[in-house]
Symmetry: C3
Subunit: 326 residues, 3 copies
């Protein structure tokens, strides 16, 4: 994965990887270098991948990865060129190995490369407030403004004509042209993803980014978490009001309008031209179609087809909801 | 409108205004100066106003404005002294012209007049923390305290005996005596008002303020947006808990109590002695009476008369809700 | 109470206390020193306590306090060694007297003992960002990191291996080992507790702390209020997502998982291994058992026994909810 934020520390010898995963060494003939860990579809020769659910059978048959972390039940489905590494818990093993390749994707310590902006190359190039901090290798386009006390961590990229408010924190995010990020938002921290464990939970590495497309507005006090394996994406010309929470891997289409205090749980995909009323909540791993209207306060717990209007908790057809609640 | 925050850049010649709105020039005999744009009721001779719904027919008949942005259906209702300017979309045209009169009411860039407080006249006058920033023409009363990293933008006025927390952002707000604003609140940004447009939404100018009356408390991480044409008002001795969102043009009466994470949508008017439980949401453009109790978690979607107790989503009589949910 | 944050300004003569409470002086023979004000159970000889509800009859019979603020109806239940002080409103009188003993527990002004961290003893001991502020008598363990612009007020204690984000505000909190506090959280302000009053509400003193046990994570933009008489506690290895609000006196057991935008009202006690879905709300003064699952968006308004799964508003058995909402 070509990713400016999380540097791949590989390659690692397959023998080292097997030992890290407490897996049998029998499968290895040549102690080859493994270049990267990624999903079944993206993996190339000399990469390692993972396969934990039969719903990916078809993709598993075609993966180009040389190795795959999987279970004894699933291993028969893999492409012939891909050797299975059988473990008890595929996702835990994958997290462990992802952290090996991308060690800085877990802990989210503050960015110690940050300098006061007037000691950087931006000094005379953009308009900024007091106490603005920027990390290494940040890029900021033409005609941007950056408010007081804002922190822009390393490798963040901001397009032309953007306006970033005060007290904002940006990390692991790519912001396109003409975007407004309002005061006190926090964008790009890792998602709320971990394996519960009775004495010390195991955090999941998050190597995805946040991508905010052209012409968006993100309201005050909002939080947008970066993705774990994929990215969190806010589509073009989509406006978010204040105090919204967007979890990891969520993708929102263009021209959508999301009112205050809405929350969208992890990995949900939302279409374009979607309107979501204030305080509505959307569960994780759902698919919301295009041109959908979700009334304020709704709780959405299943997929919604294109062109629907819904309301209620759980959300149902608006017409049905209003009839039942006359 | 006498408004310290948004400076009227007028007057403008009526010919220039007609050209900006792509309207016919036929109606003009004298190319007079137009002083201001405001609502039907407040407008004076040589002002321009707007009229987009027949529910304002009675006021339209009496407006003193010299010109009015309206539709061909409505124009006959106007006072004889008021010349109609017919456009396709009254609100879009009004937004465009309001931006012409008040150009700094749309973009909310950070306040570049801010200085570190110990380089200002406040140096020895009030008690303040580290890194406090104040803009031009700020006024702060006697016996106030201002926490670390707080930003007070230009023209903000704070009464006597107020305590402002740390990491607070204040803009376009008038704060009366004995108010507490707790940490990390953001007060006075523009509301979430714009005209959706498929490639680039058109932001609505917000020339209203936030007014926070005597003895109020505003909790941590809350956001209160300023009004578009009118003000957002928090009445005397009203207390707001943490993480509350108050949208533009909302008015809350005195002695009200609003618990954590409540959200109130735009232009809703709330009476006095109102109690709102945690996480309740109230839709926009509603009227909530005096002495109303709204239970936590409720979703209010219609007006509520004085002295009612409601609960549920949609909110109904508390008695009925409890009977149905035994 | 042995409390580094709120210093007991006592002892005070009982005659002074009676006069403050507008209570009759008749009951005093010796004008003794009163050392402290605390609850019926914790009070010792020469302390004063309060008793306002018959549900505490059994404890009242055994209190060791020398004096008790109570009503004429309840006073007969008190231990013989404890003299009643009869008032109209027990809680208001208790608040008034608590403020006398602990005057800095009411107003939460910013901490004016804070210095820039690189002018303190922490300069070469821990890793920190720009503009970090620390108050008097703060302690920070080994191997901690503290992000930019973060404020750590006086007497706060942080254990080893903690990571504190940027723009965080910590006050009146004890943080154990290996805890992560993410960006823009505000921890330890007073709770939303006061006596409504038609011209000026009377704030309740909050002399409790926040205690965050080992291995916890607190998400971005969350607020955790300190307790009034008791503490607010987050149990070991409990993870909170972004934008969560935890009110005063709440106690959460270990190994719990709380998703984004959840709100928990004052004095509710939550067991261990509890999972709470996004945007759920829990009313105050409830008891939630161990191993409870509360679905996202639920509104919990009564106690929940161990090992239950609930959903809905008001929350009911998950099975029942799903059957009714097919």
């Amino acid at each position: 994965m070509d990713n400016p934020f999380f540097i791949n520390k590989g390659p690692f010898k397959i023998s080292k990887i097997l030992s890290l995963l407490d897996a049998s060494n029998d499968i290895v003939k040549d102690n080859i270098d493994i270049n990267d860990i990624t999903d079944l579809m993206s993996a190339k020769e000399n990469d390692i991948t993972f396969f934990h659910s039969k719903k990916y059978n078809e993709i598993a048959k075609k993966t180009k990865a040389s190795f795959c972390i999987t279970t004894s039940n699933l291993k028969a489905e893999l492409a012939e060129t891909c050797k299975p590494i059988v473990v008890n818990n595929v996702l835990v093993a994958t997290a462990k190995l992802t952290e090996k390749f991308y060690p800085n994707s877990v802990n989210d310590f503050f960015d110690d490369t940050c300098s006061i902006i007037n000691e950087t190359k931006f000094k005379d190039k953009i308009k900024y407030g007091k106490n603005v901090l920027v990390g290494n290798n940040v890029s900021v386009g033409a005609n941007c403004t950056i408010g007081h006390n804002t922190i822009i961590e390393q490798n963040v990229s901001i397009g032309d004509n953007c306006s970033i408010g005060s007290n904002v924190i940006l990390k692991n995010v790519i912001i396109k042209e003409n975007v407004k990020i309002l005061d006190s938002s926090v964008i790009g921290k890792h998602g709320f993803g971990f394996f519960p464990n009775n004495t010390k939970n195991l955090r999941y590495p998050h190597i995805g980014l946040v991508i905010i497309e052209e012409n968006c507005e993100i309201g005050c006090g909002s939080t947008i978490d970066r993705g774990s394996m994929s990215n969190t994406v806010i589509g073009k010309n989509t406006f978010l009001d204040n105090q919204i929470h967007i979890a990891h891997n969520v993708k929102i289409g263009e021209n959508s309008i999301i009112a205050g205090q809405v929350g969208i749980a992890g990995s949900t995909i939302i279409g374009r031209n979607v309107k979501i009323g204030g305080q509505a909540g959307i569960s994780g791993h759902l698919k919301i179609g295009n041109n959908v209207d979700i009334a304020g306060g709704s709780g959405v717990i299943k997929d919604i087809p294109d062109n629907s209007k819904v309301m209620g908790y759980p959300a149902k057809s608006l017409r049905e909801f209003l009839r039942e609640n006359r």
